[in-house]
């Protein structure tokens, strides 16, 4: 028994990797799993903020690599979930402070104690990305339904395949169902068609996300959030459960549209 190492990455920045890592971590912990999150975005530390743990950082990933502390000392326990930990990135160093071999070594030490190790990757295809992906058993690619984000995701998928880290799974984040319905945004089907990898989640654009990261309480803890529900579903799919996709919009019938017209409601 050892942990599964899952790296969350993307081509383009700002598509929702950190949001996804935080929420999948919390969702897995709520399912009773032992989880450790590693922020591999060295120099642009973020995951601690989204998790609401920024005030408890003493040591970071680079301190571990450079031997200034024990691995244990860099692991911050979550306030609400005692089986959820975060290893923060260093804020004042750059990605060259860590190598892919370091990441493999650290995760190998953690594997016996945990069910899941989630790694939040920086954007791009440079050293930081290679660090984040090196120890991965599984890779999740986050994209938005936009031309540039999908193009960059395709590049990453190709790179992962060339390095035998494929096949990656796809999270399409910030889907706006109304825009898809009006034909002003690619649907999840369109994006999945184009990238031709397995879809593991569709996360809607949701105005609960920003207040959640403002207050450091991941949105999946908000039962009213559709994005939160989508992350919970992805977490269950990661554990091997077969969770059907929420019908978001792709095939809405005439009467549903009519009903929505009168009630002024979304789904």
């Amino acid at each position: 028994m050892g942990a599964k190492v899952i790296t969350v990455t993307s081509g383009k920045g700002g598509v929702g990797k950190t949001t996804a890592t935080a929420n999948l971590g919390v969702s897995l912990a709520r399912l009773g799993k032992k989880v450790v999150l590693i922020d591999a975005d060295v120099g642009l530390r973020n995951l601690d903020i989204v998790m609401g743990l920024e005030n408890r950082i003493v040591y970071d990933l680079v301190d571990v690599v450079e031997g200034r502390c024990q691995l244990r000392q860099a692991m911050i326990k979550h306030k609400q979930f005692p089986d959820l930990f975060l290893i923060p990135a260093a804020q004042t160093r750059d990605k060259t402070a860590i190598s892919p071999a370091d990441m493999i070594q650290i995760t190998d030490k953690l594997r016996p104690e945990f069910d899941y190790i989630l790694i939040d990757s920086p954007a791009g295809i440079e050293r930081g990305f290679r660090n984040a992906v090196a120890p991965a058993d599984e890779v999740l690619i986050v994209t938005n339904p936009e031309v540039s984000a999908v193009r960059d995701a395709d590049r990453i998928i190709g790179l992962l395949e060339a390095n035998n880290k494929g096949p990656a799974k796809l999270i399409i984040n910030r889907v706006n169902p109304d825009m898809v319905r009006r034909g002003e945004m690619m649907s999840a089907d369109d994006v999945t068609d184009i990238l031709a990898i397995k879809l593991i989640g569709i996360v809607p654009e949701d105005e609960h996300v920003i207040p959640a990261s403002n207050s450091g309480i991941p949105v999946t803890l908000n039962e009213n959030s559709r994005a939160g529900a989508a992350f919970r579903n992805i977490a269950r799919r990661l554990t091997g459960e077969n969770v059907p996709f929420l019908p978001m919009n792709d095939s809405v019938g005439f009467f549903q549209r009519l009903a929505r017209l009168f009630t002024g409601q979304g789904e």
Binding site: D154, R155, G158, E161, V180, M186, A196
Partner: protein, 109 residues
Amino acid sequence: MSGFFDWMRGRSPAKNSGTVAKERLQLILVHDRINLPPERMEEMKAEILAVISKYVAVDRDNVDIALQQRNRDSLIVAEIPFSQSHDSDEARRRLAKAADEAADEADDS
């Protein structure tokens, strides 16, 4: 008004930006995936045509050489029809030659 009927059928009018996005992406990715920019692709097509034209007359107006995607694999699919036009010198020469050969064969037997 047609917008209303489109709405009734659950369709959006005309070509919307979501469809445009998908089409643009498909074109971009075809070239990204094989790392061959569109200009080089045109050169390659011209060369393929030149090679085939050395052996047979090609109906250049109806040539279709394009990259395609099958899952994540890229392939080049070429449809290169041979020339049918009877008034081209080339075709006439070929026909005459074939007729001569047929006549020779008839003589032999």
